[in-house]
Assembly symmetry: C2
Homo-oligomer: 439 residues x 2
C-alpha cells in the first residue's frame, strides 16, 4: 500500500525525472525499450512463477482469464515493444513554422506531456504496454496496479526499473486505494490520468478529479439498418458487431431498423442472432411485427432502460424507426459517443449520418468493432476516449503528446508593431512535419 504522502513524493520525483526523459534522444528511449524486451525474455520464468502465485490466490473465473500472463501474452508484449522501437520519434515534430517578421520565427513542436498516472485493474500485460508507450513518448508515469496482479506487476516493474538506467526516477509502482485517492488530488504533479479498467472505475475517476482523464466510462454503440440496406452484408456486420466479442466496448448494444427494411431479411438477422444465443429485447413495434410468427415467443419486450445500456453480453436492444433522422436523434440521445454505424446503400443517407451523429466514430457498412487503435493502424492503443475534445476515439502514441511554441528572435519587442509596422505571418512549412532545428 502506498500512503498519500509517499504517492506525492513519488509524483514529484517523477516530475523531475520527466524533464530529462522528455529531452532524451530517440536512441536513448529505444535503448530502454530494447533492454526491457531483453530482460522480460530472460526473466520469463520469474514472471510466470509470480503470475502462478497471483492466479493461485484468485478464484473468480472471469478475473483469472484477464490475470493470466503466459508465454503467449509475453510474446504479444515483446512484439509490441519491437513495433514501438521501429516507430519514428513522436517528439520534436514541427507542425507550424511561421516567420512573424525578419529574424523572428515561431515554431510549434510536439513534446511529452510530463507525468502520467495509469490505474490498472487485473491485466498485468497492461503494465509493460503502457510503460513502453510512456517511454517512447518521453513521459514519466506512476503505475497503480490491481492487487490481484500484485506479484506479477512487481516483477514486471522491477525489470522495467532495471532497464531505465539513469531514468529510473521516472517510473514508480503504486498500490492500494489510498494511492488512487492521492493521485486524483495531485493536480500540478500529475498531468493526465489514464484508467485502464471497467466503466465504473473510469466513471469514478472522472467524477473525482480535476486532472484530465483519458478514457471512457461506456461504449453504447449503435447500428442503424436503413430501408434498402444489403441483407447479407447487414447480417454479417450485425453478427460480427454483437457476437465476435460481446464484452468489448466497441460491440453493438442497440440495433435500429428502418420500418421499410424488408421483413424477411430482418427475420433472418433475428433468427441468426437467436441461434447465437443473443437475447433480443425489442420495442413494441417490432413485437407487433413478429406477433403470431415463430419468432414471437423468443423475443423479449424491451424496457425503456435497455436503450442506452451497455450490456457487455449477448443481449441486443432492438428498435424500429420511421426515418433516418429518428435513428440519428436516437443515437445522439442514447449513445455514449463511442462508435455508431449506418448500413445503407444510399449516399445521401450515410453522409447525413456522418454529419449529424456526434460520436467519435461514425461508420458505414462495417462493424463497430473496428474501433480500436491497432485496427486503425496506430500500432498501440492508450485507450479510447468518448469525450468531445481531442484526443478522441482510439488514442495511440499521439495521445501522450502535447506541443509547445518556440519563438526565436534577435531582440524583438512588441510595442513597435501597430499601424506602421506589420507582421509578415509567412508560412515556412512545406512538409507536414519537419524535425530539424531551423530557427
Amino acid at each position: 500500500m502506498t500512503a498519500s504522502s509517499e504517492t506525492l513524493t513519488l509524483a514529484k520525483e517523477a516530475r523531475r525525472g520527466a524533464r530529462a526523459l522528455a529531452a532524451s534522444s530517440l536512441s536513448e528511449r529505444n535503448q530502454i525499450l530494447s533492454r526491457y524486451a531483453q530482460l522480460l525474455e530472460e526473466n520469463a520464468d520469474r514472471i510466470f512463477a509470480a503470475n502462478a502465485e497471483d492466479m493461485a490466490a484468485e478464484s473468480d473465473e472471469n478475473l483469472l482469464k484477464r490475470l493470466k500472463f503466459d508465454q503467449s501474452k509475453l510474446q504479444d508484449v515483446l512484439s509490441g515493444l519491437k513495433a514501438l522501437i521501429a516507430m519514428a520519434d513522436p517528439l520534436s515534430r514541427v507542425d507550424l513554422r511561421t516567420k512573424l517578421d525578419t529574424g523572428l520565427v515561431l515554431e510549434r513542436v510536439s513534446c511529452a506531456i510530463g507525468v502520467l498516472a495509469v490505474i490498472f485493474e487485473a491485466r498485468p500485460d497492461a503494465l509493460p504496454q503502457i510503460a513502453a508507450l510512456s517511454i517512447k513518448s518521453g513521459n514519466a508515469a506512476l503505475l497503480k496496479g490491481g492487487k490481484e496482479a500484485s506479484r506479477t506487476n512487481q516483477v514486471l516493474f522491477d525489470l522495467l526499473k532495471e532497464s531505465l538506467g539513469t531514468f529510473a526516477d521516472c517510473f514508480h509502482l503504486l498500490s492500494g486505494r489510498e494511492a488512487v485517492e492521492a493521485l486524483l488530488k495531485a493536480r500540478g504533479d500529475v498531468d493526465l490520468i489514464i484508467p485502464r479498467g471497467s466503466g465504473s472505475l473510469v466513471s469514478y475517476i472522472q467524477s473525482n478529479t480535476q486532472i484530465p482523464v483519458l478514457g471512457h466510462a461506456e461504449g453504447v454503440c449503435h447500428i442503424f439498418i436503413d430501408a434498402g440496406a444489403d441483407a447479407a452484408k447487414s447480417l454479417d456486420v450485425v453478427l460480427d458487431a454483437k457476437v465476435s466479442y460481446p464484452a468489448a466496448c466497441n460491440a453493438v448494444e442497440t440495433l435500429l431498423v428502418h420500418e421499410d427494411f424488408e421483413h424477411g431479411h430482418l427475420q433472418s438477422i433475428f433468427e441468426r442472432l437467436l441461434a447465437e444465443k443473443v437475447e433480443l429485447r425489442v420495442c413494441p413495434e417490432l413485437m407487433n411485427r413478429f406477433a403470431g410468427t415463430e419468432l414471437s415467443g423468443k423475443l423479449v419486450k424491451a424496457q425503456p432502460s435497455d436503450f442506452g445500456t451497455e450490456f457487455s453480453a449477448r443481449i441486443l436492444a432492438c428498435k424500429q424507426v420511421c426515418s433516418l433522422d429518428e435513428a440519428i436523434d436516437h443515437i445522439n440521445k442514447y449513445g455514449s459517443g463511442h462508435t455508431d454505424a449506418i448500413l445503407t446503400g444510399n449516399d445521401d443517407h450515410w453522409r447525413r449520418f456522418f454529419s449529424l451523429v456526434d460520436s467519435a466514430g461514425v461508420y458505414r457498412n462495417c462493424s463497430t468493432r473496428f474501433a480500436d487503435g491497432f485496427r486503425y493502424g496506430f500500432g498501440a492503443e492508450v485507450g479510447i476516449s468518448t469525450g468531445r475534445l481531442p484526443p478522441r476515439g482510439p488514442v495511440g502514441l499521439d495521445g501522450l503528446l502535447t506541443y509547445k511554441y518556440r519563438l526565436s528572435g534577435d531582440g524583438h519587442t512588441t510595442a513597435v508593431y501597430g499601424h506602421s509596422k506589420k507582421f509578415l505571418h509567412e508560412n515556412l512549412l512545406s512538409d507536414r512535419f519537419e524535425r530539424e532545428w531551423q530557427l
Copy 2:
C-alpha cells in the same frame, strides 16, 4: 437573471441547433457573419446609446475603460469579422486517410465541438468576437455577459440573433450568477467553458466544474538574462515585456539574472526600469551587489511570495542565479506555464532552455508579450491556455474544433482479421489537408 432550469433548457436547445450549424456550409456561415457585420454597422447608434447607459451606471474608472464600446471598438469588431469571413473553412479538413483494407477506408476529419459556454466580464466587444469565432467554427454558444455591460450586450446579442436566421437556436444570452452555476454543472449539455476575464474568475470556474475549461488563471512570465547576453537588446526586451502593457498576462513578472551578466549592464537596465516607475523587488544577492551605490535606496527587498506572483502592475521581482539550470528550475517551480524567455548568445543554452522549460511558450531573445493569437498569425484568439494538454498557448479558431473518425466499408467485419488476413494500413494522404469526400 437566467434561472438554472431556464439555462439548462437553453443549453439543450443550443445542442439541437448545434448539429445543424456544424453541418452547415461555409457560405451559410459566412453569410451569417456578413449579415452581422452589416447589422452592427447599421445599428451603431443604438449600440453606442446602450453603451452610454452602461457607462453612466458605472463609477469604477478601470472598469469604464473596458466597458467602453465606441466607433473605434466597433471598427475593430468589423475588421475582425471581415478577417474571419476571408478565412478558409476550418471544418471538414481531412488530416488522416488510411486504407485499412480493400474497400475499407478510415478518415479523420475536423468538426465543431458542439456547445460552448462563454463567460465574459466587462468588455462588451468580446461578445461579437467570440460569437463570430463560434459561427465560423460551427459551434453553438451560450453567452453569459457581465452585468456592467448588460445593456450593450443585449443590443449586440439582438443583432446577432437577427443575423442567425434559421440558426437562431444556437445562441443564447444568459445573465446572473445562477446561470454560471448552472453552466458549471451542465456536463453533457455544454462541451467547453471559455471564461474571458480575471484570473480569479477562471480559477473559480476551473475548480468548480468537470467540463473542460479553456483559459488560464495566471500569467507569471519570466525572463532570464544569461551571462553573455547582449546588453542593448536585453534592455529593450525587458522594458517591452514589463512596461508596454503591465496588466497583460504576457507581461514579465520575474527577471532572473545570471551572476556573470555584466554589472554595468544590469545597472543600466535597473535604472531604466526605475525611470519607467517600475518597482524592483530584488533578492538579497542583488541587494548586496548594489549596496552603497546610488541605486541601493531605490531597490525594494523581495519577499519570498514575490516570486510566482502575477503583479499585473509596474512591479518586477528580480533574482540572481548562478547557472542556466538554476534559472530553469526556478521557472518550472514558480512559473505558471504561460511564456518564459531566455536572453542569450549561447546556442547550447537556449536549446537546453527550450527543452527543459515546461511552459506553453519558450522564447529566446524576444519579448514575452509576443504570446498572443493575433501576433502568432491565428487571426483571432479564443484565449490562452496554460494547461499541459492541447490546445495550449494562444488558441485560435483551431481550439474550437475537434475531429471524428469516419470509416467506410462494404460489409466489412473484424473477426476475419488475425493471423491469416492482415490489415493494409496504407496512408492515402499526400497533402496536409484535403477537403473532398473521397471515401
